[in-house]
Amino acid sequence: MRTVSPSPLSPNPAAPGSFRLPGSLLCLGLVLLFGAKVEAKPVVTKTADFVQHGGTVLMSAGFREMFDARLRRRLRSGFATTVTMRVYLYQRTIRRPVLALSRRLSAVYDLWDEQFLVRFDGPLGPRAQRFRSINDVVDRLTSFWRFPLVSTSRIKSGKRYYVAVVVEVNPMSRKVLAAVRRWLRKPTRRQVGGESLFGSFVSIFVNDEIRRAEKTFKFRTQDFFLP
């Protein structure tokens, strides 16, 4: 379990050093001129189970519906499927999350042993689990089971909290992302020195907007509170 930089529900936090100001200025201009075309998919609300156990709040939730037939097919192909989850704990009415966690699982169907192998980071380092049935794998990939969310000492009693989760299937690797940014800035290799002006201009628009995963799924839980 790692702590990642806090970010709201946006699946694509801006890369450090990206030109935010000119970009947003131009966007403002665009919005003024053409009207905003915001693709705001409503975030699903799911009922999760929160229990208190030994000074920790544990969360259990499932979202297997995000694994459609295509993803199941891919899971069976023998190639690895990676699922990352970013978990944000919010206190109601406060914009910044109380904490942010991330979790990463990868599953592969071993064509030789004819079983699924799921790798993930356990509390004591990397772990692997084997499954025969694809449904079990999907369940493993798309659920939190008694996930240690937060120490109860950080929860103010009586206040309402909720959790927001961003799940990404097969997120683009950092290497590919970096390469894409480079291509955008220097579209042709022959260009000596200076970056193409329009390229860097375009990259302003790309940085914040690049689709970073094959599939992204977001949901929030119902509110919970500690007495």
Partner: protein, 500 residues
Amino acid sequence: MSRFGLKIVGAMLLLAVIPLVASYFLVGQVVQVAESVAKGQREHLTAPLAKAAQAYRDLFAAHKQTLRLEAQLIATDPLLLALVSQRADEGAHRRLQGRLHELVEEHPSLGELHVIDADGRKLASADSSRGFDEERYRDLKIQWPLEGFGLLEARFFTSKAPFAEFSALGRAQRTARSVDMLRSDLARFYRRAFLGLFGAALLVAMAVGLFIARRTTKRLSLLVKATRQVAAGDLETRVELPQRDEVSELGDAFNEMVSELAASRHRITYLEKIGAWQEVARRLAHEIKNPLTPIQLAAQQLHSKYEGDDVHYRKLLDDAHDIIREEVGGLRRLVGEFSAFAKLPSVQPEAVDVELLVDDFIKSHSELAERCELRWEPPPKSRELWVDRMLIKHVLLNLLENAVQAAEDAGMDAARVSLSAKDVKGGMVLILQDEGPGMEKATVERAFDPYFSTKDYGTGLGLAIVKKIILEHQGTIDVRSLPGEGTQFTLWLPLAKKGK
């Protein structure tokens, strides 16, 4: 915003939009072409990739199938089966062990072979799996039933290399998918970037347009306001427009026009006023002049016809006669001046050399020149004025008379006066400067009014006549004076045009 402003902003926007719209569509076209090329390429790439992956899957399946067949073959080995059935025998057990080793030797990918009885106990084994190191090989355990006994368990080993190749293929496919995903986004990004550029250009164009429009319309509206003020009669209005361009030139022209308007209005009203006073003067002169002669004659008769010898009465008559004669004389002079004022001749301009004019004036008024020290400074080049010689001399006479009178009344021993002529645009300026007592402010303000005089003997007509004459020459006259610092009259007169 004003209509003018809208037009300017509109023009700027149009200027910005037309090339951008054109290039937007061009870029769209280019992107589309690039897209379809990339799509074609992608199909060349992904299909073989998928096929290769399938080939690997088939390979693994086939390999497993082979191993399974191998296991079956071993399990049905007649010698093995025979030995298994005689297992109770010590020698047979050893031979079974030997056969297992032989079989492991015979099958290169076989690492271990176990015979397991129905209870799960290992009866015999052959193990050469140490030859397959875990780094490079992975295993597969296959169990096969042994006829009427238990199980045969075979552990095969196979190279890990194809599996590594397969996952490399997987990574390649994933990268291809990522790039694919990005590519489909890319066109959108380019479009959006272009729209951003577009928006920025529009904003800039709008801002520039607004700026220009605002600046110009602001200046124009200043002009409009000034024009309204002038129309309402305020001829003091002037506009101040910074920045040199056509609009500020318009402002300058406007200012010039308004000052000319003010000057000519002043001229007209002054001349009208003088005209009215001239009429009054004419009537007055007429009414007074007529009875003067009978009065004088009657007084003379009274004076001469008395033949009595009453000394006192005689004296009374003499005194009365003197008084009447004197006063009538005064009245006559007054009437003379009045009618001279009333009958001022109209201007008959001709080309007159300034220097000659002034010299001529000084010569013909030697008696006045004697009463003052006049210094005359002619212009550096000879100049011809377009004036009425007689009337200008009249002007000079009146002004000089005033200077002399002022100096004498103030008890100065000599009136020092200087007269100079200077070229100015389109005309000539005559400056008459005296070192007399000067005037109070109130006097300066009324000096040109007809019948305004500070002298007992004055008629107050001198400066009025001067101004009327100058104005009728389309000229101007100004006075500057301060008590104790002398008086300066500045006259602007037109030059004779060449060829007239």
